[in-house]
């Protein structure tokens, strides 16, 4: 025990006080950090600096325009900003968002299953654009995405055996993939056509 600690302890005892150490955190301990407002169904989560970002709702049947990214303070869990996903597929008659990941360019890439991958600037104007329009070979249910060290983006298409009704009305549907498939796109420094 250092001289300072000893003197502090003695002073506390002299005052009839005892220091109460903070409860040790055990592996697996969990606590609620933040609520996710309706429509809820939070799916994706990514962090950057002092914020974490949550995307959703991940479900069929959600109203057109209901997809969101919400930004929270990572230290307090306070909801700071909501970024509605404004790009919608009117043929789908519904919206949604699954996972999100930051690219090497600092933009947030979010999957809107009825659009593809949307790139969000997370700026006050909520600027966003279609990074890659999917259904290149037919109906898909895109779910998660990850960047490798070279900036290539990989996307999973999880439900190849389903043909969601909305896609039967989409002019971009030309075939149905035979099975699930991570898709590798070009590095994010390259541009892609909009939907």
């Amino acid at each position: 025990m250092s001289r300072f600690s000893f003197l502090l302890s003695a002073a506390l005892l002299g005052l009839g006080l005892t220091a109460t150490p903070a409860a040790a955190q055990a592996l697996g301990d969990s606590k609620v950090i933040a609520p996710v407002p309706l429509p809820g169904l939070p799916e994706g989560i990514a962090t950057r600096g002092n914020r974490f970002y949550v995307s959703g709702p991940a479900a069929f049947g959600q109203a057109l325009g209901s997809a969101f990214v919400r930004a929270y303070d990572i230290r307090t869990g306070a909801l700071e900003t909501t970024y509605p996903i404004t790009i919608t597929n009117p043929f789908a008659e519904m919206s949604g968002a699954s996972c999100a990941a930051f690219g090497p360019d600092g933009k947030l890439y979010v999957i809107e299953p009825f659009i593809g991958v949307i790139r969000m600037n997370l700026d006050p104007g909520n600027t966003q654009s279609v990074y890659s329009a999917f259904t290149p070979t037919g109906p898909s249910l895109l779910n998660d995405l990850a960047f490798d060290g070279a900036g290539n983006l990989y996307v999973t298409d999880m439900s190849p055996t389903r043909s969601p009704r909305p896609f039967t009305r989409s002019p971009r549907v030309v075939a149905r993939p035979q099975c699930g498939s991570p898709t590798r796109l070009s590095p994010v420094t390259r541009s892609f056509p909009s939907a």
């Binding site: 969990s30 929270y72 060290g149 991570p182 898709t183």
Partner: protein, 164 residues
């Protein structure tokens, strides 16, 4: 299309195939979860990060059991792989060899309110400031309850991989 294989297609009765995806910290392999495979098991596969992987490159990394439902995954700086299991509502911690090191379960404390059960956790990110996972509580396979739509953290004493 970078890679496709029947093993990733999921189960015809429960069509949730390839789902979560992450790159390992050495940038040599991509890992994917298959939520429900043809035998109703949850599994993790990995593939080498090459231009055109062959079917023989697909390697089973971990088989997590019947109706476990692995969804989002994330690598820790330690090399451990953290798996959100939607059907068991747990987080599994896998060693670099694919064996299970630990299984964590809820509920998440929520003072002064009641604890919130983990309900179909979907995805994971790291809060490097406190060594915890941030987890989305998707709550899609339980009775509708807006109080379940939360983000909770789980202390794991680890940080995120350089390629989150």
């Amino acid at each position: 299309m970078w890679f496709t294989d029947p093993a990733l297609a999921g189960n015809p009765l429960i069509p949730f195939g390839v789902n979560g995806i992450r790159i390992d910290k050495n940038n040599t392999h991509v890992y994917v979860s298959v939520t429900v495979d043809a035998t109703f098991r949850g599994v993790i596969y990995r593939l080498p990060l090459v231009a055109s992987p062959a079917a023989t490159d697909l390697e089973l990394f971990a088989s997590l059991g019947l109706f476990t439902g692995p969804d989002g995954i994330a690598f820790g700086k330690s090399g451990k792989l953290y798996v959100a299991e939607a059907l068991t509502s747990t987080i599994k911690v896998l060693n670099p060899d694919g064996t299970v090191q630990a299984v964590y379960a809820g509920p998440a404390q929520n003072p002064p309110g009641s604890p919130v059960p983990w309900a179909n956790p979907a995805n994971i990110a790291f809060n490097d400031q406190n060594g915890a996972l941030l987890v989305t509580n998707h709550a899609s396979l339980v009775a509708f309850d807006p109080a379940l739509f939360v983000v909770f953290d789980v202390f794991v004493n680890d940080k995120g991989s350089p390629l989150p």
